[in-house]
């Protein structure tokens, strides 16, 4: 049998499975009970409230702790167990370390700044990378639906990422935003720093035009708060939503079993795409943009 006929046969068989499912189960109508947004709901596990501030420990906090623990644990363990002839894990970590040192920090910052800010940037990269990656490992964290094994309530397995919640990227972005502004003020002085927001080549311009451009620059600096946080948040949230819908959520929501057969293989493709590209790329982008902002705030010429 030639490859072509095998591929054709596979496709026909696959379509037949979808049609069979469609005939057997048909259209069961729209499912009103299943709410996709509940997959991202945060149930308080340990209630902690100080005044009106809710500090409850929930799923996102668990993922944060896990990511921090993994970041610290991996790096400390690798640095304690350095070998002359690196094994696989050490090689991988060395490649990532080299990326943060040479590419992210060295490529965007001057020498003195690079030495000062390398630990921060590398930590950001590894922390976001670990948060993204553990978001694709199914963990028993879904307390919304519990399964009972011998009378013991066990939370069902679910995927969730701390970075798919706007609070965490926003908190990281605030740290970055404040630190690059403070660093710029330290390097150039308070007035000098805000003067440096104006692009060069405007010396002959009248003050009104300069003021207008300064307003635009102020807006662009404020928009960085939104763009940096929403970029990470939206990428991870969209990835998880896509996995949820492709992996059966759409079929359940619409009550069409045949659709599930068609979308399920897409879930595998998107899983590989999200885990292989987006998780690393978003961590890389966040750290690189932080380095670019820090470099832009302290560079002599704008």
């Amino acid at each position: 049998m030639s490859t072509r006929s095998r591929v054709l046969l596979g496709a026909v068989g696959y379509l037949l499975v979808a049609i069979l499912l469609g005939v057997l189960f048909g259209n069961q109508g729209k499912n009103e009970q299943f709410k996709p947004q509940d997959e991202f709901k945060l149930d308080p596990w340990i209630s902690l409230k100080i005044g009106s501030i809710d500090l409850s420990v929930n799923r996102a906090v668990f993922y944060l702790l896990l990511a921090s623990g993994l970041t610290i644990g991996t790096m400390v363990w690798i640095s304690r167990h350095m070998q002359q002839k690196p094994n696989r894990v050490q090689t991988a970590v060395e490649v990532a370390y080299d990326l943060t040192r040479r590419n992210i920090t060295g490529g965007n910052l001057e020498q003195s700044m690079a030495v000062k800010w390398f630990p921060f940037l590398a930590t950001l990269f590894f922390y976001i990378w670990f948060s993204n990656v553990i978001g694709f490992v199914p963990l028993p964290t879904n307390t919304e639906n519990e399964i009972h094994i011998f009378g013991l309530a066990v939370p069902t397995f679910a995927i969730y990422a701390a970075t798919a919640n706007i609070s965490i990227p926003l908190a990281l972005t605030l740290v970055v935003w404040i630190s690059y502004n403070v660093e710029g003020i330290r390097a150039k002085g308070f007035v000098g720093y805000f003067k440096s927001w104006l692009p060069p080549g405007l010396e002959d311009m009248n003050p009104i035009g300069k003021a207008l451009i300064f307003v635009i620059e102020v807006i662009s600096h404020l928009v960085r708060l939104i763009s940096l946080s929403v970029r990470l948040f939206a990428n991870i949230l969209a990835g998880h939503l896509l996995l949820l819908f492709m992996g059966g959520g759409l079929a359940v929501l619409l009550g069409l079993a045949a659709l599930g057969a068609l979308t399920f293989p897409m879930a595998f493709a998107f899983f590989v795409f999200e885990l292989g590209l987006v998780a690393t790329l978003q961590a890389f982008i966040f750290a690189t943009l932080t380095a670019i902002y820090l470099g832009g705030a302290t560079a002599e010429s704008h």
């Binding site: 490529g107 763009s227 929403v230 970029r231 939206a234 990428n235 790329l281 890389f284 982008i285 690189t288």
Partner: protein, 92 residues
Amino acid sequence: MADLLIPLAQASTDLTPITDAGKAIALGVGAGLGSIGAGIGIGIIFGKEIESVARQPEMKDELQAIRWLGFALTEAVAFYTFIFGLIAFFLA
């Protein structure tokens, strides 16, 4: 004209279906139109990169880092529209 307007006026007493439809349109059309722009942008980035590598193959490694930066920055634009669509759909 009046024939067309009477059903609309009757429907307007109960606005829930119209609001729901508006939300669905906001999510679908918003995210869809946003994806067009980002799709064109990503196409241009990769196309230009291929052109550049074909012209100067020794620059390949340097271009690779810039390509991923451009890709992620452009791709994020599609997700901004998607997030605002989701906000319109679930929170508005």
